[in-house]
């Protein structure tokens, strides 16, 4: 296994876009499965100590994934992804949203379109995630929400960072 897996992260202000790129030491079939099957997503999508818990998953164009991010105190943040396009083992796109447990979208928050592209070379799979917002202000809104609510998670990690 390669020990230095590439990760790129950038905010493209001009295009109201966040780009994340990461290599994984596995063939595309497995990486694709991990991104598209709820029982696998539940195992990694939420950074510890949060856990993702799927309520329903319908991975097809027009289908959606409804899940909760569950915190250490049992607190729940519901979110969903509406799948738009799917090219098996190559790419898929989805529109995300914050919602309630019934999937009713919270209109207070901007939605963004995720396009995830998978490419394999020599047993390493690169996943490129482009998170497209309608306008730059949406990123700012998410950012400001982050200050107030800890961007849904990873607060413990942040606290550690701040202590340094």
């Amino acid at each position: 296994m390669k020990s230095n897996l590439l990760m790129n992260f950038s905010v493209d202000k001009e295009n109201s876009r966040v780009n994340v790129e990461r290599e994984f030491a596995a063939p595309v079939g497995k990486v694709w499965a991990a991104w598209t099957q709820s029982e696998l997503l539940d195992q990694w999508w939420a950074p510890r100590p949060w856990k993702a818990r799927t309520k329903s998953m319908d991975f097809r164009e027009g289908g959606s994934w409804l899940y909760a991010m569950v915190g250490p105190e049992g607190e729940e943040h519901w979110a969903k992804a509406d799948y738009k396009t799917i090219n098996p083992q190559k790419s898929f796109s989805a529109i995300d949203a914050f919602c309630d447990e019934n999937g009713t979208i919270n209109q207070d928050f901007a939605r963004s379109t995720w396009t995830n592209t998978f490419t394999e070379a020599d047993g390493t799979t690169t996943v490129s995630v482009v998170i497209q917002y309608d306008k730059y202000e949406d990123i700012e809104q998410i950012m400001q929400m982050g200050f107030k609510e800890g961007f849904t998670m990873a607060l413990g990690n942040l606290d550690e960072l701040l202590e340094k």
Partner: protein
């Protein structure tokens, strides 16, 4: 936030202004001396930085002094760090999952 903090710090001159002002509060004239551009150009940069609250101003007699506002920068920094960390943690977990998947079965 009135201004756009990403845009504000994307510009190298504005980053240089932040570095100077972080070290010491300055008047626009004193700042302008550090750059090869016109006083007007520096004023414009200052306005962009002030609009997103990276700079605060204080009148001392007839002069305006600009101060660095670390709180704003910290908020921004925290968010980016947090956002990035969020993805890193998530991906580290995926690495582990993939290792498990690989050892479970070696087909595909």
């Amino acid at each position: 936030m009135k201004g756009d903090i990403f845009q504000a710090i994307a510009d190298p001159t504005r980053r240089a202004i932040l570095v100077l002002i972080a070290a010491q509060s300055m008047t626009p004239n004193a700042l302008a001396e550090h750059f090869d551009t016109t006083r007007q150009a520096v004023s414009k940069h200052i306005k962009v930085l002030a609009d997103c609250e990276l700079l605060t101003q204080n009148k001392v007699g007839r002069e305006i002094h600009y101060y660095f506002n670390p709180v704003k920068m910290k908020e921004f920094d925290h968010w980016l760090t947090q956002f990035k960390k969020h993805w890193e943690d998530r991906f580290n977990q995926l690495d582990q999952l993939l290792i498990n998947l690989n050892s479970d079965s070696n087909e595909k």
